[in-house]
């Protein structure tokens, strides 16, 4: 559906993206994850035809966008990071205008607008001016405006920036509905929980380069530990966590607030051994659970820097 091959873009001496490549199959959701300034928006802008790459190519169904009016652009819907709405017009008038940009008018436009408004839950506010909308409502309408021409690929550039948790969840619901309709989503974010919830595959970009491109499970496998077993002990007096490190599969062990946290490379192979060792050595426990490391950990492992603190 979408192939991005070796995109490079520089502004003067600043390299914004360097050799970015990835692909998205039909119905797949790809997360472009990276800190601010990593090159996510530049990549999306090149895919949407807003910027020209210094080198590399973008193929949509095997075809490059050759001109401003290339019909291939009809396959793409863009949800810009900045709000792209006219506050002075009503929600319906906004959508009527954006539909007309794709030569959609009359009954077909009305149907497309109704569908989009229903999807984002704004049908009851269709006649109200956008200037009266909350930030979350504007974000949802911003999404609706990109759906009118029924694009196959949706480019979502940080579509939840600046919205409250309730609106964010509403947008996630909208996007999941679009996934069910078979849309291909390219979703840029620096919120790892968003990528974890929505994306089939995650492309991690840092300093304009792709440093990882895999499923969530695949990314986890890059880590020295795949799971952390958290065991709440009955008593911690005299317990030395270092003793657990001698067990096979155990990569780390630390004790804090009565909870022993043991990192293992393989949960099914490591967890039974740890629990058996505790029982055999008289360390009773009353609860245990396992946790997967999150993308923050992945990013930290890959770059040596925290995702949120990266510049």
């Amino acid at each position: 559906m979408l192939e991005v091959n070796g995109l490079t873009k520089s502004y003067g001496g600043l390299v914004a993206v360097s050799g970015v490549s990835f692909r998205a199959d039909r119905g797949e959701t790809i997360g472009l994850l990276g800190p601010n300034g990593a090159g996510k928006t530049t990549t999306v802008s090149i895919i949407a035809g807003l910027l020209s790459a210094d080198s590399g190519e973008v193929l949509i169904d095997g075809r490059q966008v050759k001109s401003d009016t290339d019909p291939v652009k009809l396959k793409i819907g863009l949800v810009p990071q900045d709000m792209a709405l006219y506050d002075q017009l009503s929600a319906r008038d906004n959508l009527t205008f954006f539909a007309a940009l794709y030569s959609i008018s009359g009954a077909k436009a009305r149907q497309a607008i109704d569908d989009a408004l229903n999807l984002v839950g704004l049908a009851d506010r269709a006649g109200d001016k956008v200037g009266t909308f909350s930030g979350g409502m504007k974000r949802r309408l911003n999404l609706a405006a990109a759906l009118l021409h029924d694009p196959e690929i949706l480019l979502l550039d940080e579509p939840t920036v600046g919205v409250d948790p309730q609106s964010r969840n509403a947008i996630f619901d909208n996007l999941e509905a679009l996934q069910k309709r078979g849309k291909t989503l390219i979703y840029t974010t620096h919120y790892m929980e968003e990528a974890e919830r929505l994306c089939d595959r995650i492309v991690i970009i840092d300093h304009g380069r792709v440093i990882a491109d895999d499923t969530l499970q695949g990314l986890h496998k890059m880590l020295p530990i795949t799971n952390v077993i958290a065991i709440e002990l009955d008593r911690v007096d005299g317990f030395a966590p270092e003793a657990v490190l001698a067990l096979p599969e155990v990569k780390s062990a630390e004790l804090s607030d009565g909870t022993l946290r043991v990192g293992v490379h393989d949960l099914s192979g490591g967890a039974p051994g740890v629990l058996r060792w505790l029982t055999e050595n008289g360390h009773a426990y009353h609860h245990f659970s396992s946790e997967q490391p999150d993308l923050e950990t992945v990013f930290l492992t890959l770059t040596g820097r925290s995702l949120r603190d990266s510049k």
Binding site: Y11, S45, A48, G49, L50, L51, S52, D68, T69, D70, P71, K73, L74, I76, L78, P80, Q81, D82, M83, A84, L85, Y86, Q88, L89, D93, T96, F97, F98, A100, L101, Y102, S103, I104, S105, N142, A145, A146
Partner: protein, 435 residues
């Protein structure tokens, strides 16, 4: 076509949705044009506003000085009020009067004598506002005519004139500096005047005064004034030029706003959305040109409709020519706005630069004051300014009342400017957001 119409319609809707801005955008030029039109002669050019305020201080109080004051007061170009020297100085300094005329003591006597002998000419004081030097020359001209008429009238008719003729005869006889030959001629001249005065006095006793010199010496010609407007009995309407000027100015500002708005738009997600759609660059800029031109046409129509209804401004020439000039100017303005967007850097910096450029174009185009007050070299220079052609075209089609042939050159030049600005805009427009 659907996207193009949608783009134009959206611009128009956004413009008209902001009703306060629309009303202010129309009211301000109308108020300013009404003011300038009133100042430049209103509906006929003989309104009270065109009279010069002049103060007169009569320190003489003679028949001649009183007659002079009366003559000045009767002039249609002056608004004469009596005053004192100190009072006049204060008023003129404050700019509330153009000039003050001080008629000195013994003016009547000295002026009468000086008329024949040239000696001891009295000095009439003129206190004037230095910011009104042009009007001062007009006051001096009117004063000269009034003094000549008043003094000569008294010399040839009045009782004091007879006394002064006798006195002058005695002085001629007793003045050793006058050569014998000159003395004889002056004696004959004054003797003839004396004889004429005595005959007049005798006739006046019998019948009321008549005769060629009963009114004194006057200018040996009169002017026939005819304002060359669109036709006979059509008075000049100063509002026509003022409304054209203010219309041109505010439409240019609207064009500038279009350019700034485009610069601002380029920084927003809306621009990304427009660029992501399958729209050509020609359509994006072309639709903006058409919508801006339509808004400009609306402003011109509204302004001239007001001028027609309230001040009787009419298109006395070709209506088609008038419409043609309006359309050409509207297109030129729209292209000017796009050029601003193409050449501008940040919106803030561009705003300052384009305000300056707009004001210069308005000033040199004759929108504030007619270009005939410019020096000749500047008048020639302003031919490179599009607003000059717009003003000339609108003046020609409104109060000058010319046919469509006089609109063709302004229309052609304005369209050429539109093409030039449009070409620069398309070539230099930075389509990519990164600039």
């Amino acid at each position: 076509m659907i996207p193009f119409l949608a783009l134009v319609r959206k611009d128009l809707r956004i413009f008209f949705n902001d009703r306060k801005a629309v009303i202010i955008g129309l009211v301000v030029p109308i108020v300013l044009a009404s003011f300038f039109g009133y100042m430049f002669g209103g509906q006929g050019g003989d309104a009270a506003t065109s009279k010069l305020a002049v103060l007169v201080i009569d320190e003489d109080g003679s028949d001649i000085s009183r007659s002079l004051v009366s003559s000045l007061a009767g002039d249609k170009n002056l608004d004469v009020k009596p005053s004192t020297v100190d009072g006049a100085k204060e008023v003129v300094r404050k700019g509330k009067a153009t000039a003050a005329i001080v008629i000195p003591k013994n003016f009547g006597q000295d002026a009468g004598r000086a008329l024949f002998t040239g000696a001891n000419k009295p000095e009439i004081g003129l206190l004037y506002d230095p910011s009104h030097k042009m009007e001062l020359e007009m006051v001096k001209g009117i004063l000269s005519g009034a003094v000549m008429q008043t003094v000569s009238k008294e010399m040839f008719n009045g009782s004091s004139g007879r006394e002064m003729v006798n006195d002058s005869l005695a002085r001629v006889e007793n003045n050793p500096e006058i050569r014998a030959g000159d003395r004889k001629v002056l004696r004959d001249l004054l003797g003839s005047v004396k004889e004429l005065n005595e005959r007049r006095a005798a006739e006046q006793t019998a019948t009321p005064a008549q005769g060629s010199l009963s009114g004194g010496l006057t200018m040996p010609f009169e002017t026939h004034e005819e304002a060359l407007t669109s036709g006979n009995n059509v008075a000049y309407n100063g509002y026509a030029h003022a409304f054209a000027g203010m219309g041109v100015q505010f439409i240019l500002f609207m064009g500038m706003d279009v350019g700034i708005a485009l610069l601002l738009l380029r920084q927003t997600g809306l621009w990304q959305r427009l660029r992501a759609a399958p729209l050509s660059r020609t359509m994006l800029l072309g639709s903006r040109t058409v919508s801006a031109a339509l808004i400009a046409g609306f402003i011109l129509t509204a302004i001239f409709t007001f001028a027609r209804v309230v001040f009787g401004v009419r298109v006395l020439g070709s209506f088609m020519g008038f419409v043609g000039v309006c359309i050409a100017f509207s297109l030129m303005t729209a292209a000017f706005g796009l050029m601003i967007a193409a050449l501008g850097g940040t919106p803030e910096a561009t705003r300052g630069f384009s305000v300056m450029a707009t004001l210069i174009m308005v000033m040199l185009g004759g929108a504030w004051v007619p270009t005939f007050v410019f020096p000749p070299w500047l008048r020639k220079l302003t031919l490179v300014v599009p607003t000059r052609w717009a003003m000339d075209g609108l003046d020609a089609m409104t109060w000058r009342g010319f046919g469509i042939s006089e609109a063709l050159a302004p229309i052609a030049v304005l369209l050429m400017f539109a093409l030039l600005f449009g070409t620069v805009a398309v070539m230099r427009f930075r389509w990519r957001a990164e600039g």
